[in-house]
């Protein structure tokens, strides 16, 4: 994979930025997210999560399955504030 390749499209994070964060100590999907913002955008990593696990796996020489998925948090899909607050008035 080319270093200029955009891996996380929501936050425009490149493969090079991800590799650099792994080099600086990121050893998990969550650790990568906190260092680079990869997976923090609108899709919350649903698109790029697998790809990022593969980069981690290659750089650290561990199987893809050894990387726990990032902590998933509600809401599962983006929800408008109007819906969250319920309709009273």
């Amino acid at each position: 994979m080319n270093d200029d390749l955009i891996i996380c499209r929501c936050e425009e994070i490149t493969c090079g930025e991800i590799r650099s964060a792994i080099w600086r100590g990121a050893a998990t999907l969550t650790g990568l997210k906190r260092r680079t913002r990869a997976g923090m955008g609108l899709c919350q990593g649903r698109t790029c999560g697998t790809l990022i696990s593969r980069i981690l796996s290659r750089e650290l020489g561990r199987p893809v399955s050894s990387f726990e998925p990032d902590t998933s948090r509600p809401p599962v899909v983006p929800v408008p504030i109007r819906v969250l607050r319920g309709d009273h008035e």
Partner: protein, 388 residues
């Protein structure tokens, strides 16, 4: 892992990394331990306000201001961009009656040297055109800022590492050992480290560590929820808190619906460098229960819409929770421990740890090195709880 260090710092949140960084500038031989990754605790489950506006007039305001000043300089030296932005913050005041209280609050803060300014209804609307029309006014503090707390912790850790501090994440401390002179070792799941100085910066988990040297810390988890909104839909360019937030923070009764009062819901708006905005806040004592409570989310969303009606159609992309390290007097414990020489506590920053990280690092560095402390630490010492 080396077997001996002059100083062992336990916990790599904003507080522990700031301590590591400050000590590293003096060339101290230190190791920074965390049972998880750097910035894996409360420092990654919070907001990033660096505030003086919400602090009590007097000591608390001065401490926060001093911390802001240290952070302002520190930020230029860090090897990573921590997303520090000096956008200022505004306390929004709902009603004319509250305006009087707000004026008194502003006046006494000014007497203690905080540069803040009252804004009337018209001025508020000019600064924040999207604000609900009936908001009576506000107080503006121009020195208040935001920062990305995780980036701050990573930057401080990296800075400390470049100055020679050893970083040792994924290493859990199980106990601290004492001999006749005081601290002699820190035991971890990856072996024992011999040392004469151990700093406990384990946030809300600090009581467990202090207990191993027979010290009780009055720190409890005070849970908070944060709503993350999508990018590019900002209703305002500064940060904003409702005046009632000051009451919620101190547990003083407010004029809001009982369920809001119960969960300590008060409006907090943070603009992030990434172009999102974050909505807070809630305050609950529910132990270490991390789940997102839909009822609390509902109340927070309602409260936010009350101030910025235009955000009704903005999407929330994520909700997270974190645990503030609460203390009974809402002040951190930044202190040596007489009963265990060589043991220092830097924990209990409740909802102020990001803003106070800089001064905490400096104070602990002063204490460990036996220097004259940069500010009078007496209101922060552990012994203040001994009388009760």
């Amino acid at each position: 892992m080396r077997r001996a260090h002059d100083v062992v710092i336990i916990g790599a949140g904003v507080v522990g990394t700031s301590i590591a960084y400050h000590l590293s500038k003096h060339g101290v031989d230190a190791v920074l331990l965390d049972r998880g990754d750097i910035a894996g605790g409360t420092s990654s489950a919070c907001d990033g306000h660096v505030l003086t506006i919400d602090k009590n007039p007097g000591y608390d305001s001065r401490l926060a201001q001093k911390s802001q000043a240290i952070l302002h300089d520190l930020i230029q030296q860090l090897p990573l961009d921590a997303g520090y932005r000096n956008w200022g913050s505004v306390l929004a005041v709902e009603s004319e009656e509250d305006m009087e209280a707000a004026e008194r609050f502003a006046e006494s803060k000014r007497e203690h040297g905080t540069a803040i300014r009252l804004m009337d209804r018209a001025e508020m609307r000019a600064d924040a055109p999207n604000l609900a029309e009936d908001i009576a006014g506000g107080i503006l503090c121009g020195s208040d800022s935001v920062i990305n707390p995780m980036a701050l912790a990573f930057g401080l850790a990296e800075g400390a590492r470049q100055n020679g501090v050893e970083l040792q994440p994924f290493t859990e401390v199980s106990a601290i050992d004492l001999d006749e002179k005081g601290v002699c070792a820190v035991r971890t799941d990856r072996g024992t480290i011999f040392t004469r100085a151990a700093v406990c910066a384990a946030g809300v988990w600090s009581p467990r560590i202090a207990a191993t040297v027979g010290i009780q810390l009055p720190i409890r988890p005070r849970k908070g929820h944060v709503l993350v909104a999508e990018q590019d839909r900002l209703p305002y360019w500064r940060n904003m808190l409702e005046f009632g937030y000051l009451m919620a923070k101190r547990g003083v009764p407010r004029e809001v619906e009982p369920d809001m009062e119960q969960c300590g819901v008060a409006f907090v708006f943070e603009r992030t460098v990434a172009g999102n905005f974050l909505l807070g806040s809630s305050r609950e004592f529910v132990g270490f229960e991390p789940g997102v409570n839909p009822e609390v989310v509902r109340l927070m969303a309602r409260r936010a819409e009350r101030f910025f009606p235009c955000i009704a159609d903005v999407h929330i992309i994520r909700v997270y929770t974190g645990f503030r390290p609460y203390t009974p007097d809402h002040r951190p414990i930044i202190s040596p421990v007489d009963e265990a020489p060589g043991f220092f506590v830097a924990a209990g920053h409740e909802g102020n740890g990001i803003g106070l990280a800089a001064i905490t690092g400096r104070l602990i560095s002063d204490m460990v090195l036996g220097k004259e402390p940069i500010v009078d630490p007496s209101p922060l010492l552990l012994e203040r709880f001994a009388a009760n």
